[in-house]
Symmetry: C2
Subunit: 192 residues, 2 copies
């Protein structure tokens, strides 16, 4: 594993976000947006539960099973999937606390393989990357991200790359990460 400029702490944060509960602003925003989509019957897209290996369960009563020993597992797929306008939709979302680049180790190799596999079968697949200190949330087609990962020798993606390959996701208070708007434009040719 290669170190990157700002030290290890950020990557630890990124890991902790999907696991422990810190730095979950993006996740919260996406969940809120997905709830809206669901309420308005626009799309059915959910976050998958955090994968854990359950080792010990206590049954003090039938209804109240209590897990007393469990461990976080590496996810074998992305965090979000569902259906929009008849198409299978699949994506991963990452927060990045660096200002100049996005560390590639934030996205696991099997997540890249997963995105590649669903694309082969006809999915709309992408990655959402939020640079928290820059206040920008990018939509990146999985095709572009995969190509970069396969061709680069770097351990991170510079911010300038996002300017070229990404689309800024519009923010509004009701739908904080309104990515369906971008799908309409990129995949359904609703160009207005």
């Amino acid at each position: 594993m290669v170190n990157y400029p700002n030290g290890k702490k950020n990557s630890y944060h990124a890991l902790a976000s999907s696991a422990g509960g810190r730095g979950m602003a993006l996740e919260k925003d996406i969940n809120e947006t997905n709830s809206r989509y669901l309420e308005e019957d626009l799309a059915v897209i959910h976050k998958k539960p955090t994968p854990v290996t359950i080792v010990k369960v206590d049954y003090p009563s039938r209804e109240h099973a209590k897990i007393t020993e469990a461990y976080f597992k590496l996810p074998s797929t992305t965090d979000y999937n569902g259906i929009y306008r008849g198409r299978y939709v699949d994506f991963e979302a990452k927060e990045c606390t660096l200002k100049t680049s996005f560390p590639l180790k934030s996205i696991h190799a099997h997540q890249i393989r997963h995105l590649d596999a669903v694309l082969r079968h006809g999915a709309i697949a992408f990655v959402i990357v939020r640079f928290t200190h820059l206040g920008i949330t990018w939509f990146v087609p999985a095709e572009d991200m995969i190509r970069y990962v396969n061709e680069t020798t770097r351990s991170s993606i510079p911010v300038a790359w996002f300017e070229e390959h990404g689309v800024k996701i519009p923010f509004n208070y009701v739908k904080p990460v309104d990515y369906l708007k971008i799908l309409d434009r990129l995949y359904f040719e609703d160009r207005q």
Copy 2:
């Protein structure tokens, strides 16, 4: 909640299967089948992780977070989804230890609502029901299951209904629950 003939024990078993680990034969068979589909690049379909609410996490070291208190959550969606031949696929799987009927409370109301929602958006949605003592695994289109649930006053589905609305899922050692064969016939008109 209504009781059904053989007493409550079975339904507890069914619950425990997705949670604690008993009676997971069907889940294991489906996971094995899905792994094969993935290896052969036929489809990308995964089981979602069991949803848990994590309350307490110990961090004895950075790499080894240990969850020491967590609880099972009711799933808000079905257990399985993914993509096949460009279509979004979504299903729930249940084992039934009764010989004469399938208790409706095995499937939660929000799972039925979820199946209904994905159907509206163009999904292939279905339910797999295995009668363990009869040795039969049924494929039931979600449309039929939803119609039954909405129209019935009963608390279970009699076995005879499956004979009429279901399709028996073929078994083979490599793919123990080979449901893609049925999708080909029912949704892609590959009738041989």
